[in-house]
């Protein structure tokens, strides 16, 4: 996986220097694919999570008579943690798995061999655009998830907790800083790279037949989720340790 990451980074960064930039059309197709495959699910999950978080936190905050802090708690939690993590998990399931299945099938059908003997570098042709596509799409999906998650909390705030719409929005905006949103985007970029590399690596490592493609797909999702959560702890430690931000 480390070798594949290095080779991909090499194609992305040094490709333009060697007059072999990564394929824009394929990259944009991957962005569109990641978006269309994940957007509805991200919207649904983040709306529900925003609502659940609003209800859960309201019960606790009401004991201290500060139920109006729900707005800030929901928006900060969603932007810093929930939107990047849950969106990454959704994308790992939807896109990471399909990348592993696609490349695995290509490997089994000797299409990767065919590319190699034609003289086309599979990392440049297949891997780099997929990872670049995810690195663009996942932060966008995360920002979208931020907005929908906050909307979920807002709906609970005005519909169930009887908080005023304008005061809820004001409290959200006051609590939420640009650093919170940027922190989420930084996480999303790291998670996208992990999901892309794991999906491609598992796909290319597939040997045998259809059964192995299925195993590679499952392994890609499981590994991605575990690594994303581990990376989340690491990035959170870097960004927020010591009560910063």
């Amino acid at each position: 996986m480390a070798i594949l990451s290095g080779r991909t980074l090499d194609r992305m960064v040094l490709g333009p220097v060697r007059r072999r930039p990564i394929r824009l059309r394929t990259t944009l197709a991957q962005v569109a694919r990641a978006g269309t495959e994940s957007l509805p699910l991200v919207a649904l999950i983040m709306l529900l999570v925003g609502m659940i978080l609003g209800l859960q936190s309201a019960e606790q905050l009401d004991r201290f008579g500060v139920v109006d802090l729900v707005a800030g708690l929901v928006s900060v939690s969603v932007a810093r943690e929930l939107a990047p993590l849950l969106t990454a998990i959704i994308v790992a399931g939807r896109v990471g798995s399909s990348i592993a299945a696609e490349l695995g099938t290509m490997q089994v059908d000797q299409e990767i061999d065919a590319l190699t003997v034609i003289g086309i570098d599979p990392v440049h042709y297949l891997v780099a655009p997929r990872i670049a596509g995810l690195v663009i799409a996942l932060p966008c999906l995360t920002v979208f998830g931020d907005a929908v998650g906050i909307l979920g909390g807002f709906l609970v705030g005005i519909g169930v907790l009887d908080l005023g719409a304008s005061s809820y929005l004001m409290n959200s905006l006051t609590a939420l800083t640009l650093e919170d949103v940027w922190g989420g985007i930084v996480k999303a970029v790291a998670f996208a790279a992990i999901i892309g590399v794991v999906g491609c690596e598992r796909g290319l490592a597939t040997r045998g037949g259809a059964e192995q493609v299925g195993r590679s797909t499952t392994a890609a999702v499981v590994r991605s989720i575990v690594l994303v959560i581990a990376a989340d702890l690491f990035v959170t430690g870097l960004l927020y340790a010591g009560g910063g931000a």
């Binding site: 290509m106 059908d109 000797q110 299409e111 061999d113 065919a114 190699t116 003997v117 003289g119 086309i120």
Partner: protein, 287 residues
């Protein structure tokens, strides 16, 4: 060996050397060895392929013929030995020389290995788009010529999933020939095809050689196909070249391993497996 046979063999070798010099050597394989783990698959293969020749590599399953082909096209790195294509050492010469060589060779894989998301025409166009500066309109003409050559012009806009087995093989050949290579490698071109389609593929390979003068290395276990297209046949057995020569010479061979293969007789392992099955059946045990 009788003095007459020794003389005939010496004459044959001298003739081969003269032919090599006249036509030039396209592929040289010397003492090629390859193992997977502790299992040796190629145990010192020596072969020379002349320019414009059709060499068929025959062999039973596990004889090492597919591994030899994968080494020849650069997909597997041999453990030892030397492999030169058009004078370029595939594993020791600089990457630029190897990249230039790759543009001069085409490979048709057993299952076609067509890119499933691309149409037949896009598959053939891919090497042209990657390695030539031809404008799209010219590339389109070249693609149509290649597809016409294999009789697939009508299928240019179909996806590989919409093609029959024979059409897939022909489309793979058209893609392999896209850059007018000097060397064409075919892995089991007739496998899984009915006799008529298989004969059509054989004719196509012969036409490729006739029209383009391409050097062909064909790996197969189909005897009829091998004998109808080969200038020479190399029979691989347990990772070594057991026999090498024109089809007629192989046909006349008295080597027991060659005879066993050509006469389609089961080997000892299969026979003992049959005996074991018989023994189990006798005792009422069903595997």
């Amino acid at each position: 060996m009788s003095p007459h046979e020794v003389r005939r063999e010496a004459q044959g070798e001298a003739q081969d050397e003269i032919q090599d010099e006249v036509r030039g050597v396209a592929i040289e394989i010397e003492e090629l060895e390859k193992s997977y783990g502790a299992e040796p698959v190629l145990r010192g293969v020596d072969l020379t392929v002349r320019r414009g020749e059709i060499l068929v590599i025959l062999g039973a399953s596990g004889s090492g013929k597919s591994t030899l082909l994968r080494c020849l096209v650069g997909l597997e790195r041999p453990d030892a030995g030397r492999l030169c294509l058009n004078g370029v050492d595939l594993f020791h010469d600089p990457p630029a020389a190897v990249a230039a060589l790759r543009e001069r060779m085409g490979v048709a894989f057993q299952g076609g290995a067509l890119f499933g998301s691309l149409t037949v025409a896009e598959n053939v166009d891919l090497p042209l788009a990657e390695f030539t500066r031809l404008p799209e309109s010219t590339r389109r003409i070249v693609v149509d010529i290649k597809l016409a050559l294999v009789g697939l012009r009508h299928a240019r806009d179909l996806l590989p999933a919409e093609l029959s087995g024979g059409m897939v093989k022909r489309a793979a050949l058209a893609r392999a020939m896209a850059l007018d290579p000097d060397l064409l490698f075919c892995d089991e071109p007739s496998a899984g095809l009915d006799p008529i389609t298989s004969a059509g593929i054989d004719q196509l390979l012969l036409r490729m050689r006739e029209v383009f003068g391409v050097t062909l290395v064909v790996v197969t276990h189909e005897l009829a196909s091998a004998f109808s297209i080969a200038d020479r046949i190399a029979l691989l057995h347990r990772g070594r070249v057991q026999a090498l020569g024109p089809p007629a010479e192989l046909e006349a061979s008295t080597d027991p391993i060659v005879r066993r293969f050509l006469d389609r007789r089961a080997d000892e392992e299969t026979e003992s497996a049959g005996l074991l099955e018989g023994l189990l059946e006798e005792r009422g045990i069903h595997a």
